[in-house]
Structure formats: C-alpha cells, structure tokens
Assembly symmetry: D3
C-alpha cells in the first residue's frame, strides 16, 4: 500500500491555474498534490550568442525552491552565492525538454525564459515544473501568435513529465516525497502529448533494475502523461 | 489625482491569508493591492555565535523577489551568484524591525528565520514583507506557546510597516509602483500596533523635504499602521 | 554624563583636511574625534547604462573599512570575496545622499565616484563619510568648473550628515562608539546646509520611540549639521 | 556510414592502463578512441556529515576537462570561479553510478573520492569516466582488502557505461564527437557487468523517439557494456 | 637623468611615522617619496591549523590598495569579489619575508597579521609595505615583550626591502612609478639589516640581463637597505 | 647525500614528448623525474584590450594541478571556486617568463595561451611548466610560420627554468619534493638558452643567504639550463 492510499497507477490530484501573475507573458500555478510550482514565461528579443543570426528561437529555463518549500528550511541559494548541483541539473533538464518540443524555426529568433519556482515541495517538482512550464510557454507563445508576431504554431503538442518508480517492490506512478525518499529505482519520463519520448532518466540508488521493470514503468508513465497532457490542453485552450 | 484613483490617505485593499504552506511553522500570503509577498517563519534551535549562551532569542530575515515578479524580468540572484545591494538592505531592515518588536528574553535562546519572497511586485514590497513577516512570526511563536516551550508572550504588539511619500506635490499613503517611481520624497514607517516608532526611513531622490512635510507623512503613516495592525491581529487571532 | 564628558549637544572636534592625495580630482581626510575617513572623488566620462543619453550626471559612492580601523581586526572584504551587508547599505546611502544634493542637469553626462575609506573608526563613520564625501565631490566639481567643463554650479549647498540618539535616557548629538553600542535609539540625519532634510534614518534596537523624541533628535541634528556645513564651506572655499 | 568507418555496433578501440600515477591509491588512464580520461581514487577516513555514524561508506566523484582537451580551448573552470552546469551534472552522475554498484556496508565508514579528468575529448567522456572511475575505485579497494581493512568485497561486479544514439537515422554504439554533435537522440547507459541497469539517460535534441528505438539502443548498449566490463576485469585482475 | 632628478643611487625621501592608529597593537605610516603605505600589526592568540600544537608562532600579511591611490581609479577588490593576482602575489611575498626574519620559537604559538594598505602609490609599494610592515610588527612584539608575554626578542634585525632596476640603460636605486613603468629590468631585494639576503626577485619584461648587471643592482640594493634599516631602527627605538 | 642519491649538480632524468594532444596547436608532456606536466599552446586571434591596436602579440599562461597529482589529495580549485594564491603566482610567472623570451613584434597581434597542468608532482613543477610551456609555444609558432602567418621567428632562443637550493647545507641542482620541503633557501632561475637571465626568484624560509651562496646557485642553474635547453631544441627541431 502507498502511504497516501493511492492505487499503484493513480496520480495525485492535479490542477493548473493560469494567469496567476500580472506581469509575465505567460504564467501558471501547477499543483500535483502538495507539490506547488509557479511557472512564468518571459519573451525577450535577444538570443544567446550561439543562436544569433540563425533565425532560430531559443527556450531556456531556470528553477528554484523557496527556502521553506521543504520540511526543514533549505539555505537560500542567492545567499549561499551559487546554485547547487541539483538545481543546475534540473533547470538544464527543463530547458532541454521544452526545446525538444518547440519548433525553433516557427518560434523565430527570440528567446523565451521559463522560470519555475517551487512554492511547496512534496516530490516530483521537476516533473511539475516541466508540465507547468510548458503551459506558461504556450500562453506566452499564444500572445505572440495573437499579435501576429508568430504565424505557424511552434508548440503543436504538449511537453509533459511524470515520475514513476519502484516503491516497496511495486511499480508506482507519480511518487510523492515519502515514496521518492524510499524508492530503490525511480525515473522521470518526459513525453509529448502524442506519447513520443523526449527524455528518459532512470536511476537506481542502492539497487539495480531489469529491462522488464523499465518497461513496466514506461507503461505507467504513458498513462500519467496522457492524463496530464489533457490538463495542459484544457488550461491553454489548445 | 492618484493613478489608482485612491484618496490621498486611502490604502490599497489588504488581505492576509495564513497557513498557506504546510511545512513552515508560520506562514502567510500578504497582499497590498497587486503587491503579493509570501512570508514564512522557521524555528531553529541554533542561534548565531554572538548570541550563544546569552539566553536571548534571535530573529532574522531573508528577502527575495521571484524573477518575474516585476514588469521586466529581473536576473535571478542565485544565478548571478550574489544578493544585490537592495536585497541586502531590505532584509537587514526586516530583521531589525522584527527584532525591535520582540521580547528576546521571553523568546528564549532560539532563532526564528523569516523568509519574505515577493511573488508579485507593485510598490511597497518591504513594508508588506514586514507586516506579513510579523504575522508568520506570530504564528510560529503561537505554536511554541501552545507547546509550552515559551511561557510569556514575546510578541505582545504587532510590528507594522507602511510607506508614505510626496507624489505630484501631495502627501499620499501606501504608494504603488507608479507613484513610487515618480515620488520626490518617500518614506517607510515601521511602528508598533500601539503607535510607537521602531524605524523611520525617509529619503528624497532629486528633492529635499521640510520638517512639516515629515510630520504630515508621519500622520498618514500612523493612520495606515492602525489599519494594518487590525488586520494583523485578525489574521493571528491576537 | 557622556563617556567622553561632552555636553549632550556637543559635537566631537571636527577637522577637514583637503588635497591629501595627489592623484584624486578631489580628496579630504575628515576627522570627527577619533573617527577618520579618507574621501576621494574621481571624475569619469562614462555613466551607468540607465543614465546614458539622458544628459544627466551621476554620483555614486563606495565605502570600506581598513581591517584594523576597529578595536578588533575585521576580515578584509576583498579576501572574504564580498562586501558585507552593512557596507552595501552604507555605500548606497552615501551615493543617494550626495545625488540628492546634486543638480544632475548642471553636472552634465558624467559620473563622479566618491570613495570613502575608514582609516580609524569610533562611531559615526557613515555620517563622516557623507560630510567628507561632499567635500571631495565639491573639490572635483570645482576643477571641472575651473576648466569650463561645467558652467552652472551643481552643488550650491553642502550635503551634511550627523548622528543623534538616545543614550542612557538622554538625547545626545554625534554619538561615539561607546555611546553608539549602548544607545536604544539612534538616527542618521542628512540635510542640506540650508537645513532641508535629505534623508532620515532612525531605528530602535531593543526599544521604541515617540514622535516627541524624534523631534528632539531632529533639533539636535539641525544644530550639528549647521556646525558641520560651516566646516565644509571653509574647507572648499565655498 | 559512420564518419569513422566503424560498423553500427562497433566500439572504438579501448585501452585501460592502470597504476599511471604514483600518489593515488588507485589510478588508470582509460582511452576510448581519442577520448582519454585520467581517473584516480583517493581513500579518506572522513565521511560527509549525513553519513557519519551510520557505519556505511561513501563514494563521490569530481569531473573536469583540461582547457585544451577540446577542439577550441575551453575556459578553465578554476579561473572562471565555478564549475559549469554540465560539469556538475556529470560528476553527480558518476558519483551516483559508482555508489549504486558499491556495497556500502562492506566498504565501511570511509569515503573514496574518484577524480576523472579529461585529457583529450572526442565524445563519450562521461561514459569513459564511469568505466575508468570504477577501475580506479576497484584498485583502491583492492589495497584496503590486501591490508585487511575491508573483509568482504564491496565491488563484486563492474559498473560500466556506454553511449548509444540515433545518428543519420541509424542506431549506433559508442558515439564519437562528430556523431554526438549530429545525433538527434542519444543516451548514456550505465549497467553492471552482469547486465543489470543502474542508470539510463536518453534525450532527444530537436527530435523525439519511440519505445522501439529505445529498445534497439538498449540492445546495443548491452553489447558494449559486455565488452567494456571484460576490459575492466582484465585491468583489475578481478 | 632620472625623471625626478635624483642621482642613480639616491633614494627618495623616507619617513616612518609610528603609532598612527589607536586600535592596532603596532602601526606606522611609511612614506617613500609619494608612495604612502599604512601598516598595522594585529596580535591574535589563534594560529593556522598547520601550526597548531607546534609551539611556533606565525606571521602573515594582507595587502590592498585604496581605489584612488593610483592615477586612474582602480576597481575596489571587495566590490569585484576577489583579490587580483598581483595583490595575492604581493601579500604572499610580504608574509614570507617577515616570517624569514622572525624567530618563530621566540614568538611562541601566536599569530601576528600585518595589514599593508596603500594610501598613495608612486612605485615600490611592495618594498615600502615590507619595510613599514616590519616596523608595525616590531612595535606589536614590543608590547608583548613589555608585558612579559615574550622573553627573548624574536625580531633582532630589521627586514627591509628596496627596488632597483635598469632604467634608460642605467642601474638605479628605488624606482618611482615613471621609472618602474619604463624599466627593462627590475628587482625587489629583501634583506636583513645586517645585509643577509632573504628574498631576491628580479625580472626582465621585454629584455634580459647578465650576472654582472645583477651584481650591480645587488650593490645598489645593499646601499638602500642600509639607509632604510637605520630608519626602521630609529622608528622602533631598536 | 641527496635522498635520491644524485650528485649535487645532477639533474633528474628529463624527457619531453611532443604532440601528445591532437587538438592543441602545440603540446608536450615534460617529465623531470616524477614531476610530469602537460603543456599546451592555443593560438587565438583576439588579444587583451590593453594590447589591441598595438600590432604586438601577447603570450599568457594558466597553471593547474590535478587534485591527485600530490601525495594527499588537494581540493579541486574549480570546486572551491577560486584559484589559490600559489596558483596565481605561478601562472603569472610562467606568462611573464615566456613573454620575456618572445619577440612580440614578430609574433604579430595575436595571443597564445599556454596551459600547464600538473599530472604528477614531485617538486619543481613551475620550472617544468616553463620549460615545457616554451616547447608547446614553439610548436604552435612553428605552425604559424609554416603557414606563412609569421615571417620572422619570434622565439629564437629557448626560455628555460630550473630550481636550485641549499639542502642540508649543500648547494643542489633541480630539487625534488623531499629536498624542496627541507631546503632553507631555494630559487627558481629562468634563463634563455644563451644563458641570459630572465627572472630570478630566491627565497629563504627560516634562514637567510649570502651573495656568495647566491653565486654558487647561479652557477648550478646555468649548468642545468644548458642541459634543458638542449632538450628543448631537440624536441622542437630548433
């Protein structure tokens, strides 16, 4: 039995509230159970040097956790003077995933920065950040399209992420924090709404896994992504 | 006329929602118009070295702004690698103000860290942070008192802050961002609920002011603090 | 009785020696009792990005303390790798105060950087830095006027700062270190030579204060500023 | 056809030279084609705070590239003042992988730090670092066992890594730099010598992939890992 | 002819004023022409970890330049966030030189930190810092001896430094800034008052030199050191 | 007797292997006994700002030690977040020495960066870095000359470095680590192949030295430099 009483393949309640911040070109507050992440998208005319002159767009991401989003207070990275390894790893993943789902020709030579700030953490923050980050990105792109700045839709299909793992010997979908800390194997699965794979990260801490177990987790992930992508489409009116 | 259409001595709508985060010992989301600040209080047994062994408590604060809390995206301080001068100045002010309103003997040798994170900014974030920070602090102290860890109340009276300034030649209460950027003189007034002064910071940018003008702003501030302290008391059941 | 034996409204001996460094466009060594601050002004043609093209000038300041300016050695900020919160707060105050007293149109699109380095500290270093910083600034501006680079005087009236506080229950002028460390309330008052207010910073540490007490301290400050402004005028031949 | 003329499932020539540095407890120079990585293992009695008192061992890793290991010179991270995001991500991966293959009870409460420094880069440096890092770790552990400090072998089975990807529409094993930069999908597969999975990281840049393609790459990876594990066993006499 | 009109073997006017700062255990302001360096010595009971328990003393040094000690303003190292390479090199040299002249057994297990801050620079700041640093150190040690904390004198002979170089084809003593910037070869010579060598640093920038030229510069240096050591002895009453 | 059994004026076995890295324009692995340093030279079209437009070339250097090049593991400077004082001092020395031996007019307005990374340390790493650094530089320049980008040879004569010191009361050539740690006086001597001096750095730690002793060490150094320069010429075919 899962600590939350959920079925093995049952996700936590999901909600995606859009337009939560007045300044950002796109924003949402995504909640997956008690994991709450605020996502914003900012449109900028400048692009990184290595993109300049290519005509291609760029999508990048930054990630942070509020100091008291967690059970015991984390040190504020701005005060420490650098982003920790985990933060860097996660924000690189978010950026890579959103770029993979973006038609950079259609986006045109501009940059969109997606900020994902964890307000409250209960496992799965990177997946929530990707799922919500896509919504914010989609809303910002929607403004560009409405204004005629972009003609062809660069984001036809959601980018969606979910975690699965082996907890207490059982494959489970959408791990919360108590499951995440105890799981021998866990993975993050990033897919398109149509079910194509974008990124798979599976790792064992203190254990190993077989290809069969990997297949089972992929099945669970596909189910979760399907449910989440429906929510993303609702939230963005896509 | 003020850009918002408010009367000269009219505050923005204020709301203080408590208990918004499940992990923190005390938390609230304070809204002064479109300025939204999330405040949390964390109780720790350790105190800074210079307090150790004195039997006195310590209250400290950290402040941050989400990158897209503002009209154009700010660089994330964690990514830049240091807190900017304005951030440092503000968090020192918050800590000093809350300490001034705390009976450190009654608190006992423990530290409470108040985190104030600006979700959305529209002027007056430091005042909102102090007002909301006190609420979070009070809630955390309430838990310590309920548990019998503290016997005598170290926070008998709210610590409350409001800004006033001279905008378009007129003294106004509770400046929003359009007023703040145009004001020749503005001040932050931190008081106890009983109207005693804790800290006054008035400054002129491109102008100077007289003692009479200072007096007028103090009158306005006293009015604003009175209204805010009532809200703080409601929110904390004090 | 004050530790130094001074009357309540008696300043420490003040001296302002100008032209102490051969390279700087303006320089002075200001002494307020045992507090000694070396101030220099550097004229630069470049201005910060946000000023560029406005035709306005800019005045900024940096502040530092020599490691052994204090009773026990402070760690050198260059070796630590960053300026502490107190340093940042003070140098922002100095810059803001000097700008408030400068006619930025008359200055023209150039920057003057005022460096204030504390050689020896005995309380009131930020006030001495502002008072001496204005002298250095005035001397540098004098060179620009003598050379015909500036026609209209951008610094008609001194910017002057003094501290006052409540020490042992009594309002006192120009706190030295023993008074400063024990004062329940202390304030820094920045005024023009003509007595207009530029910035007021009053704070209570472990106490609160009333409007009446604030008024008494403002009276004391006005007296001190009058005496200091006379010295600034003498030193700069204004 | 692959740029190197290799068959789709053909690895580059592999060599593992051990004992290359006289000071380290374990060391090797691993070459996978033109990718050369120097790996060392250092035994320390101290463990990180979160391990202290558990009786468990700890394995951690650091990764670096010499500035001119690459086609154009990279800035030296020590001079820049921080490790880049890619470096941090890779060294966390190496540490996690080696820990997953270590019996931390058998290791006992000590730490082994594995340093992987890329002397020359031609794709697949992180995989070479894991494969060579395990050899250095094994040699260091061998010394501890020879000295009787460890009784039961904490490293019974190699930890081995190889990259696979889809290059020019074809699944290929062990990508070199020209392939890596052009591949639409690539993955790093970390396994035990016995073929159990430890970590899988697949990502698409500008493309997506199906479960079938994932399966094909896993087959290739298993072949490569088998060949590499044989070399690791030879090198360590296991 | 030298720009200053000095003879080839003529030093600039030297003065050493002691006791210039009231807080430091030893202090002096050393002037070699227009090069002015403020030196302080701070006695601390703690020693660095690698000295602890050896019974030996430790002498270390830090060096800094005020931003406007030079012709054009230097960036403040505390604001930049690190000490530059030149600063680091110089402060290591000062520490090494003073240690070489100290009987660390006689000093006993304590640390003395010598701070050398350049108030005004006109060439030869590192030599002035060593010469003045020894005076500050000697005065601090004098207090320890007067108090009976040290019995045997750990500083029997001055540590003294002077620069020499080849300027316009001629060997010259005590280079000022115009000479220093144009010299093809220059050297810093650190000796004891008795004429024993402690450290020699000679370097050619855009030239080379012979052993004969080296000999000539050593002769000049010996002359300069003799004159400086006399001043150091006067200043310290040794 | 020397720990290694060498004669007083006997160097360690020297080898210089060139072309060890495929990407660098010049590279070598220099071994002086157990001290192994990898040196590369990178040609860049950009020059530092202070050289721009002068028509002169620039040579600069960076130095690093692999964490386990030493008996006990050193902390990785990239992870610490800054280069230590010793590193900075050494890389400045290498750059200065190589520049002194370079005809910057002949080099033309381009920069060559020499990276020296210590793979294994056993004393004398900075001397090996200079000796090997010159070889890498020479090879890179050779490419420029072969391509006709440089017409006149900017490096006619090797830049060579060797250490000497007084160990156990005896002058010895080419100190290894056990000698280096115990030597009362040691020096680094940088010369041209023709025997002209470029830089001399002699220092005493816990001792002093006379001019006679300095002369003896210079004699030894000249012998060592002669032998090393022959090896540099062989390695570069000069």
């Amino acid at each position: 039995m899962r600590p939350s009483g959920r079925d093995l393949s049952e996700m936590r309640p999901v909600s995606i509230e859009t337009g939560v911040l007045k300044h950002a070109e796109g924003s949402c507050l995504v909640k997956m159970g008690d994991t709450h992440v605020l996502c914003t998208a900012t449109i900028e005319d400048r692009v990184p040097p290595f993109v300049k002159g290519t005509g291609l767009g760029w999508v990048t991401a930054e990630y942070g956790m509020l100091p008291r989003s967690t059970g015991s207070r984390m040190r504020r990275e701005a005060a420490v003077g650098k982003q920790g390894g985990r933060t860097v790893e996660i924000q690189r993943l978010i950026g890579r995933a959103l770029r993979a789902g973006t038609d950079r020709v259609a986006l045109g030579e501009r940059q969109i920065t997606v900020d994902c700030d964890v307000i409250q953490a209960d496992g799965g923050t990177r997946c929530a950040a990707i799922t919500g980050g896509w919504v914010a990105l989609r809303l910002a792109v929607g403004k560009l399209m409405a204004a005629g700045d972009i003609v062809s839709d660069p984001l036809p299909d959601p980018v969606t992420a979910v975690s699965c793992g082996i907890y207490a010997g059982q494959p489970v979908l959408d791990l919360d924090y108590p499951e995440d800390s105890a799981a021998g194997v866990d993975g993050n699965f990033i897919m398109t709404g149509a079910g194509r794979l974008i990124e798979v990260q599976m790792s064992a801490e203190g254990a190993t896994f077989s290809r069969d177990e990997m297949g089972t987790l992929l099945d669970l992930a596909a189910k979760g992504v399907g449910e989440l992508a429906a929510r993303q489409r609702e939230a963005t009116g896509a």
